[in-house]
């Protein structure tokens, strides 16, 4: 092994260590940006180490490709925060594609020079299958999130049987290829089936269920990188892929738990439609309040908790929320934010939006930390959240969200719920919170209502 090769290997080892530190530093917002630096350093080391590779005969096309990638990548990082899920999905698609293409190229090259051992063939099949499946699956997910594709679940008769048959054909072709790698006619079959599979898997899933799907595709993209590592005998790929794979896996498990779905449901059945039980109960009487009323109530409170949800994201109301927070702080009223793990449409959604609006993260509290304090809270303001504050999850065994942990908004002395209508949220079920005695509804778009509340408060702030 030449000195150059040692250098390459050393840079790979260092890159692997840097990636581990990169993720480790995400354990706190204080060290998190350092984590990005470590990640960039690791990636640069890995790329430079690779460019030293003696088998590279020309750099021209590599540089062209790198430039193209940069030119596409930079604007992709400017998307508004509400489009982050789509961007993530798109990015998984690219990752899957890269894995699939490298696997395909390696197959062709080894087919020519006879390097196809059955172990390598096996690794290639896994890489290609996961890669292309991730490509089309993620494109579908991105399309549904961007609402380019219909977001409703698309189902047809015998769907499961059809998918199962296709899967069988793909596995049989793969197995045959491992046995006889030279039957190249089967290789395109595997590719096409993998591509089809990605589409078919995401087709029956509603747009709102995409976050779980995206996390799962994240795990698949990671596993595809691992398989590429086995194909190319490259430990760095295995390490980075495994880190990515476990991240996707853990995030989907967290989402499942917070939504009270079983995990097998995600691995297989997340790929199944969410039964939207549109339980239309008798319309219960609700009390409503004007922004001025809300402002008055807030003025007299000493402890306030804001519970944001998907509606805050839709209305882009996070800046108004921060203004409210400042008004309260000015009066010495304690204001905290109660963040439910699956509030919004992706893990950590609320945190990023509030951070964008410059709410200090020290004011954010996790569900388990704030729930014991809820009975001492004077006013809980629910901003476009619905399912995550539905008390039915605690006691109504027949409810589809029964058992899902919720933020106990109903235990606060007064609850103010800001939403546009009495329509249900993501889970499609009514929320008894709104008809509770201590609950007032402030109907309207979250941004507008909050704006009025803040105006009412700042108008009075001189008097106060």
């Amino acid at each position: 092994m030449s000195a150059i090769e040692h250098l390459t290997q050393a840079s790979y080892l260092a890159a692997a260590a840097l990636f581990v530190f990169s993720l480790r530093w995400l354990s706190s917002p204080k060290t998190a940006r350092q984590g990005v630096v470590a990640g960039v350093a690791g990636m640069s080391l890995a790329v430079f180490g690779t460019l030293l590779h003696p088998e590279i005969v020309s750099y021209t096309w590599i540089v062209v490709a790198l430039v193209i990638g940069t030119v596409i990548g930079v604007p992709l990082s400017w998307v508004p925060l509400t489009a982050v899920p789509q961007r993530t999905a798109l990015s998984h698609a690219f990752g899957g594609m890269a894995a699939g293409l490298v696997g395909t190229a390696k197959y062709m090259l080894w087919l020519q020079d006879g390097g196809l051992t059955s172990f390598r063939m096996f690794a290639i099949i896994v890489e290609v299958l996961l890669g292309y499946l991730t490509l089309t699956g993620s494109l579908m997910a991105a399309g549904k999130l961007q609402e380019v594709l219909p977001t409703r679940p698309i189902t047809y008769k015998n769907q499961n049987i059809f998918n199962g048959l296709l899967m069988l054909v793909a596995l049989a072709s793969g197995a045959y290829l491992v046995w006889r790698p030279e039957t190249w006619q089967l290789f395109p079959v595997v590719i096409v089936l993998s591509l089809a599979f990605g589409v078919l898997l995401v087709l029956p899933i509603g747009g709102a269920d995409m976050p779980t799907v995206i996390s799962l595709l994240n795990a698949y993209a990671g596993l595809a990188a691992v398989a590429m590592g086995f194909v190319l005998d490259n430990k760095l790929l295995i390490v980075a892929g495994a880190l990515d794979g476990s991240s996707g896996f853990i995030l989907s498990v967290i989402m499942c738990k917070a939504m009270n779905r079983s995990f097998s449901n995600v691995l297989f059945g997340a790929f199944g439609q969410v039964s939207a039980t549109a339980a239309v109960g008798e319309a219960k009487a609700v009390k409503s309040a004007t922004p001025q009323d809300v402002a008055d109530i807030l003025e007299n409170a000493s402890r306030v908790v804001v519970i944001p949800g998907y509606g805050m994201a839709v209305a882009q109301a996070q800046h108004r929320v921060r203004e409210l927070y400042e008004q309260l702080a000015k009066r010495g009223i304690e204001c905290r934010f109660a963040i439910h793990p699956v509030a919004g449409r992706m893990p950590g959604h609320m945190n990023v939006l509030l951070a964008e609006a410059e709410v200090p993260y020290t004011a954010l509290a996790e569900m388990d930390d704030i729930n014991p304090d809820m009975p001492q809270v004077d006013v809980a303001i629910v901003v476009g959240a619905n399912d995550v504050v539905n008390p039915a999850a605690r006691h109504d065994k027949s409810s589809p969200i029964f058992g899902m942990p919720i933020i106990n908004a109903d235990r606060a002395k007064t609850v103010i719920a800001i939403k546009r209508t009495m329509n249900p949220g993501f889970a499609g079920i009514d929320n008894e919170l709104y008809s509770a005695d201590n609950c007032l509804m402030a109907f309207g778009d979250a941004k507008a209502v909050l704006g009025d509340i803040v105006k009412a408060m700042s108008g009075e702030s001189g008097i106060h």
């Binding site: 993720l23 995400l26 354990s27 917002p29 204080k30 998190a32 940006r33 990640g39 990636m43 690779t50 460019l51 590779h53 088998e55 005969v57 020309s58 096309w61 590599i62 490709a65 790198l66 596409i72 990548g73 930079v74 992709l76 990082s77 998307v79 982050v84 990015s91 690219f94 990752g95 890269a98 293409l101 395909t104 190229a105 172990f119 993209a221 590429m228 590592g229 086995f230 194909v231 190319l232 490259n234 430990k235 760095l236 980075a240 892929g241 880190l243 990515d244 794979g245 476990s246 991240s247 995030l251 927070y325 992706m346 893990p347 950590g348 959604h349 964008e356 200090p360 993260y361 020290t362």
Partner: protein, 99 residues
């Protein structure tokens, strides 16, 4: 002989990296789950390593093209992944603005 002994090395590496991954990810702050998604996204674009070799070897036109597309795709992920992660992380502050 060589590749099969190495197979076991790779399995060791895979197993240990998975252990590390699970432990590290579980300790990531819940606050940062969205940036976590984009950061792992960028890291998994390490596929660029394999793509560069395929593209650089220039064994034949097909593999050159496939390799270059893979390099461009991975580079897109690297650039956009790290940039957007940093953009999000910059927003997390202990204190509010001007305080």
């Amino acid at each position: 002989m060589h590749t099969t002994l190495d197979l076991w090395s790779m399995l060791f590496v895979f197993m240990l990296a998975t252990f590390v991954g699970f432990q590290v990810i579980q300790s990531v702050s819940r606050l940062l789950h969205t940036p976590l998604m984009s950061l792992t996204n960028a890291i998994s674009a390490i596929a660029i390593v394999g793509s560069i070799i395929i593209a650089g070897e220039e064994k034949d036109t097909t593999s050159l093209i496939l390799g270059c597309v893979a390099v461009a795709a991975s580079m897109t992920n690297i650039v956009s992944g790290f940039l957007i992660t940093d953009r999000m992380l910059k927003m997390f502050r202990e204190k509010g603005r001007q305080q």
